[in-house]
Symmetry: D2
Subunit: 454 residues, 4 copies
């Protein structure tokens, strides 16, 4: 029986209960929302009765997959609420960006500040410098006052005006410092590690009985966070990667048996490699972490590559950094970890380059491998128009959620709509490309490569 | 009670029955699919038992909106089938592009040809020139043989290598010519009028009892076709519009009381104006056909504009071409229609430019209006990377549908997944921006303009 | 005998005497230059003994064109001087931008401010708003304090942060206001009219015996100011025009007998049309003011156009706005002038569009003309990298000139080097494309059109 | 006494005699030129009496530098001649591209083919594959027939459709093969090594008394070939480098004490580094081969870098690959050479990255160095509009020269005009940035760095 997943549209959510999808609020919303006032009641959600998006909208074959006798599980829709928790004139908000760069960080910062200040009339927004480190007072980083004027044009540059860093901080110290700064709500923009940190902060805040909200905005250039079918900056990132793949192809074309090899981000998930390959229309072979990378044999990678070069005179290979890691393990060597606790990957790009050259040499043939590892160029560009819209919607929905006192949650997207997702759920697993799902099938049909090397 | 629509995600589908959503096939699929053979059974749909996407995935408040006692309505998922109707070695396929240009036309043509020839082993694909006119033999346009080599690089240019034209042709004559050309399946890429034409062809084909499939690929730069939450080229179009809005702002900034005015496409729907305004982050006022355009009074457009100029020294206005048409009606003058049967719109851009200048003159103040009407520049650009991926998926899914003998249908998108939609359904109504839905709220929060001028 | 002009390299300078090329200084340079101090004597010019660039570097045939018995005429090289006139700590500088936008205005403003403040240690730079109007006190425009921080990023946007306007002001009033503002030197960035204004100001300053310098930075998107072989923003402008021509071609290709028609700036000179046509590689016919536009007859424009459409199926025409003006004259109607005193041109683009359509109709054939008039899109973009470098060099050389007390001059370029040019010389004539020079020959060889329509 | 060179405008040509500047022709021009016929006599040069560009157009101080008693030295102007040597209907032409990629190669190939075929009516143009190797028959590379249709759109992609390779071939064998292919004239597009090869071919051709012309088109992304003030692709290259520098800055800004380090091409000359730094406006320190790189001491590089980071919080360093090579020499190790005979450079980028990190560590401070080495991304892009024009002019002038039977020469540029330069002259020395010339002064004024580290 066919199980046909849209990979872009995350569906691996079976068995979640309505309780697990519930969002925690720090208290009852007593205040009228100035945004709701301006928009009128037709455009807002009512606190405690927000519409939901069904967890599953597939009807497999002829059978209905929902059981009407129980309340179906669904995510709460994001958006402005009729009532809010914080008093905009008094509350003070903090923003922090953590981890590696992704396109659109400045758009999200800007969007939060504009929605807070112009939408709700908030007067006090602090930007913490260089990640969680910047919250902790003893590090001595002075936070930036973020006003609408100050952020008006920051999105025309990539990166983050707040700066960023990797690695966590002592949770108690962070909460101490947030208290000392009288922060009502913290917006934490970052990846897996950052979101774990945000959850820990929210929990510590809960233990102390404070009225402080913690809202996450998931950032991952790998596009691999669960319940967010598209991370901000992802479209920009794969668009930038298209230019790199084009360069690789141009170099490959100009050489006798030229092989362009591009390594893209993607530690555990090949979304970026897949989308970039599709967008470029010029990749001949795509290698992702979700599928085994067999080098030798008639259906192995090297033989496939040879056939492409034989047929076309050149080839373009796109490899996600997490692909083929098992080929790189040196026996007896302990895995290493970076500051954020991620295992340090070995360099599959360099390995492939050397392997291909050696392989052709062993055949007595010449081949020229042009290897490009473009990571900075892809993550430091400004958001493209599509991400500009997307970041704005992430940001304003994060503000709506925070103003209503929601906490330990992040803004996710489900079936194309912005929803509230408990952080706990989102960090439970990593989104991956399904080997028989629609995205990988699309790549395989586009490149003509085998479904897998075996 | 909150009614919270995601505008981008089309949901106005209440009351459709499973029957209405059913796709017609021209015959039973008897042949094994070479694509399915290559992909393995895990990646394909089984003919007659394809998965579906529920029509409605919202749970409003606490009430479940589906009734489990009946079979819920849903769209059939697109994708490769296990068995096909046409013999790839013998069947002959035709492609036609109609109406105005949209970014990505060449990507779709290329995608169809590559999937047919490289995916299924088809040997015979004809490209008809200049729209439906090119199918009719007596017009004398010679169709182009479309091979993988011929189309390999066409997507690097905008436009359509086939040419296009407006207006319909006699259906009988079209079917006569398709028969004369031994066409097994026709891919018709175009808008509302084109799709009506495609349906008429399919119906005539049915009347004659022919085994010819007609598959539509909806094209609309207005993004207003029902059951397709994103038309191909739309992201490219609003991305291109961002540059125009930026020009308008730069011109406005340089003049005393400068007002930049940009007219964008959108006859009945303001999607392009909304998305471009959001993406640019620089629009102060957005005018769309879905909302009345009141000029005068304290809450009217002119007073709002004055306040923006007063506060910022300049203003940027984005207007969809279909906005405010009631202001332009000359009493006693009959409406006029173009070749495709669309009513000719009056020029709201020129009208607004003159109205604003006159208004400021009447106040004894100077204002400089810089008016830009960029339509060609927006529709003739090559597809951006995101649309490049999207066009490929539209194309390959259209091929999968046609190979399985489906007809009188088009490739749509529902909840972010590609689905089969009966043409009859898609042309029944036009998608429009909901005045209290998420898209318009996002625009209003971004620009700070009132929800409506009243 | 061959007369072979490089059009881009201006050479029509015969008969100028060394006296005419001499630059006026407002007084002796007594102060050591901090820039010279930092650079060392090897990198600076010595006041009163600057190197020169020969007026003429051509040797026609076998004859030497210079006569060694006399001092050959040459332009003084621009660059830092060993000594300066103004005391950087005390002097106050003003900047004004006038006329239509050109790419790079903000680069020039930024460059002047950075060189003044960071190079020379100047503490006081004022930016006047909206052209000369902003200098005159009674108009009430408050000048902007321009600091290095304030201008650091302004060049990432097109336009001018100072604003601009057309039209002159009373010279006495301007000088009164400059005196009232204690301006030591004024940088006037603008075209022909602006430079005439600057000269008048310098003359009035001279009459009053003031120690105030006036330095021009020539701005002309038409690239038609004498003794400046490349105006700033020109490369950006024709690069932007390439995209427009590409759009026109894409539209033309998609229509039966499609004709793309693009009107570009160029009132008296076709430089922009020529360079854009060359850069696009896609123009079939280029029409410039320097050559007569004959419509009819076997060698006329319409017959040539027909032949191109016949051969290729479509055609692309690029027309400079000043071309064919004689065709548009209505008998008995007086010429009209704009605020800057330029004669108002009639619209050759609309005229050609209508003429072509009528011509094809008269032949009983269909043709589709897609007409694009993109002026704002071309002039409001940010400077491209090449112009970014160029604007910086214009700006810093203007500052070096002003600090040395030079006045009534502008920064020009001769044989590829920056030089000092008396304003009086530069406004004496307009640079035009030579009908048998290298530029036009290059266009004719590229398009295949006749040297002239006759 | 000031010696003020325009670096971009090459002037180091003292002491060359008219004889050394003379161009060799393979025989008298007897045939009327079809191009001259079309253009008329006003637009062409007369064979044997072409206009010249003076070698020196500077007048240093008050002294005239030319001595009228002798014939002044000058370069022959390029352009169409009134008479030609080869019969266009019979002659056969070859094109070869060698060495590393540069933007615009395809533009040059296209331009040569179009001018030959459409301008002169040539029917036979061969493109040799993969450099000189492709000429030699025994390597078995089949040349490509180059027709106007085949090359019409190749310039929209970077790279070279002919392919390229490094390294020379046996001259006798090359000439044997050219003879076997009946080549009348060979266009050799490449750098220093390629031009030496072209000269050797021309000399061997001369020895054999053949009527074969060899015309060079100089290609160097380092912009360092003598007598060509701008190599084709150079503007595109530094424009692409601007994006890389911007990425480096964005990364630097986001980190605590972030230092962006970009390595650019430039083995012996820093032109690319200088222009890219100027164009980006964002470099703080630029390091070029022409100037010593002293690391330590108060005025050394590291101290300067520290001061920038101290002041701004971050820094951007641009280093040409050939800078500081003396720091990298390992005693006792022989220099190594690549296939083209160029000494292999050690990696100054990696060295600087490690040195900076170690330096900060030794100070007990944290610094993050983001190092980018973008070479492929810069050289494989399509030509920008400015280079598109430039390549066309290089190409058509090369064709004019070849048709007139000129040989052992290349197309150069002097004082902004295209000229004929004997290859022998051009390969005698390398163009370098003058340490007290205008270009370096411009960089120093822009970055604020010291004139040299000492």
């Amino acid at each position: 029986m066919s199980v046909h997943d849209g990979d872009q549209i995350d569906r691996a959510a079976d068995g979640l209960s309505p309780e697990e999808l519930g969002i925690r609020a720090i208290g009852p919303c007593m205040l009228p929302s100035p945004v709701a006032h301006r928009l009128g009641s037709g455009s807002v959600h009512f606190v405690g009765a927000a519409d939901k998006v069904l967890l599953d909208d597939s009807v497999s074959g002829e059978t209905l997959s929902t059981d009407a006798s129980t309340q179906p599980a669904g995510f709460e829709l994001a958006g402005p609420r009729d009532r809010i928790f914080f008093d905009p004139r008094l509350a003070r908000f903090g923003i922090v960006t953590c981890g590696g760069l992704a396109p659109g960080l400045n758009n999200v910062i800007r969007g939060i500040v504009l929605e807070l200040c112009l939408g709700y009339g908030v007067r006090n927004v602090l930007g913490f410098r260089f990640g969680y480190e910047g919250i902790v007072l003893r590090h001595g980083h002075v936070p930036i006052e973020l006003t609408p004027d100050a952020v008006a044009h920051i999105h025309h540059e990539g990166g983050t005006v707040l700066g960023t860093s990797r690695g966590g901080q002592d949770v108690e110290e962070v909460v101490d410092s947030l208290q000392a700064n009288s922060i009502s709500a913290l917006f934490a923009i970052g990846g897996d590690g950052t979101l774990r940190g945000a959850l820990a902060i929210a929990q510590e805040v809960g233990r102390r009985g404070l009225s402080m909200a913690v809202v996450g905005i998931p950032k991952t250039i790998d596009n691999d966070i669960a319940f967010i079918d598209r991370s901000f900056g992802f479209v920009t990132a794969y668009s930038a990667a298209v230019d790199v793949i084009r360069s690789a192809r141009v170099e490959a074309l100009a050489a006798l048996n030229g092989i362009g090899l591009v390594k893209l981000m993607g530690r555990q998930s090949g979304f970026l490699a897949c989308q970039a390959a599709l967008a470029s229309t010029e990749a001949d072979l795509v290698l992702i972490p979700e599928l085994p990378l067999k080098l030798d044999g008639h259906h192995g990678f090297l033989a496939c590559l040879e056939r492409v070069v034989e047929r076309k005179g050149h080839a373009v290979v796109v490899v996600a950094e997490g692909a083929g890691q098992d080929l790189l393990n040196e026996p007896g060597r302990e895995p290493q970890f970076d500051k954020s606790g991620n295992p340090k990957l070995k360099d599959i790009g360099v390995f492939l380059r050397d392997t291909i050259v050696a392989h052709y040499a062993s055949l007595g043939r010449e081949a020229t491998v042009k290897y490009i590892d473009p990571s900075y160029a892809i993550r430091s560009v400004p958001a493209c128009p599509s991400d500009s819209v997307y970041c704005w919607n992430m940001a304003r929905n994060a503000v709506h959620a925070a103003m209503a006192g929601n906490t330990a949650m992040l803004i996710g997207r489900w079936h194309g709509r912005f929803v509230h997702v408990p952080i706990e759920l989102a960090i439970r697993r990593t989104r991956r490309v399904s080997p028989d799902g629609d995205l990988w099938v699309s790549v395989v049909e586009s490149t003509g490569q085998p479904l897998k090397f075996e």
